[in-house]
C-alpha cells in the first residue's frame, strides 16, 4: 500500500510556504538564510516525488545539483553575513540600509 504522490507534494508545498513566510517575517539574516534552505529542501522533496511519478531517477539527479548549489550558496552567503556583521555590528537585515536613498 503506497502513499499517493499528492500527499508528498502537499507536504513540499506547505514547507515551501512556511519558508516564504519565515523569510518575510524574520529579521535575523542567518535565520532568513535557514528559511531559504527550508524552501530548497521542499523543492527537493517535490523533485523526488516527481521522479517517482515518472518512474526514473532524473529527478534525484536534479536534487543532487540543488544540494551542491545550496552548499555553495550557503558558504558565500554566510561569508557575506559575517562581513556585514563585522562591519555594522549586527546581523539584522534592517540595519543593512547602505544602498537606500
Amino acid at each position: 500500500m503506497r502513499v499517493a504522490p499528492e500527499y508528498y507534494l502537499s507536504l513540499a508545498g506547505l514547507m515551501f510556504v512556511i519558508g516564504v513566510v519565515g523569510a518575510l517575517i524574520r529579521r535575523n539574516a542567518i535565520v532568513i538564510f535557514m528559511f531559504v534552505e527550508l524552501m530548497l529542501n521542499a523543492v527537493n522533496l517535490a523533485f523526488v516525488t516527481f521522479a517517482r511519478m515518472w518512474g526514473h531517477v532524473d529527478g534525484q539527479v536534479l536534487v543532487f545539483f540543488v544540494l551542491v548549489v545550496a552548499a555553495a550558496e550557503v558558504v558565500v552567503g554566510l561569508a557575506i553575513i559575517l562581513l556585514i556583521s563585522r562591519n555594522r555590528g549586527s546581523s539584522d537585515v534592517d540595519d543593512v540600509n547602505l544602498l537606500r536613498w
Binding site: 503506497r2 512556511i18 535557514m34 523526488v48 521522479a51 531517477v57 552548499a71 553575513i81
Partner: protein, 200 residues
Amino acid sequence: MIEIIVFGVVFVVALGSSLAMLFAKNAVHAALFLVATQIALALAFLLEGGQFIAAIQIIVYAGAIMVLFLFVIMLLGVDKKEPLIEPLTGQRPLAIGLGAVLAAEMLWVAWRGIEFAAGGEDAAGRLVDINQDPGNVLAVARVLFSKYLLPFEATSVMLVVAIVGVMVLARRMGMTTPGEVAAGAGEESDLASPGRGATG
C-alpha cells in the same frame, strides 16, 4: 501499510519543526529544528526510492551545511535577541495572509494540477524495478555521468568559484577599519596582527 505510518510521522515531524522554526526566538533552536526537518525529509526520500539522495541529504545537509550554520551563529554571538518591532508597518500580517493564499494555491496545484507529471500507471513500479536491478546508486550514477555530464562539470566550476570567492570575502586586507574595531574584533585582531607585523 508501513509506508502510511512512516509518512504520517514524516509529515508531522517535518511540518511541526518547520513551524517551530518560525516561532523559535533563538537562532540555535531554529537551526536544530531545521536539522529535524531535514532528517524527516531524508526519511521521505527513502520512502520514495531515493536511497542515495537520502544518505546525501543527511551527510551534506544535516551534517556539513548545518554545522556551518551553527559555526557562524556561534561566531556572531548566540545571545542576540531579535527585536520584535516591525519597521514596515503591517508587513507581518500581510506576509502571513499572502502566505495563506500561497498555501491554498500550492495545495490546489498538488491535488488538481499534476496530470502533466503522470508517467503512467506502472511508473512507480518502474522506479522500484530500477532500484532492484542496477540499484539506486548505479542508476543515479549512469544518468549523472551521461545525460547530465555537462551540468556536472559546470557544478565543479561553480564550487571552485565559490571557494575562491569566500576566500576573497573572508580575507582581511590591510589595516582594520574603525567599524571592525567597534564590532568587537579584539581577539581576532590579536591573532591576526603578529603575522601581519612580521610580513610588513
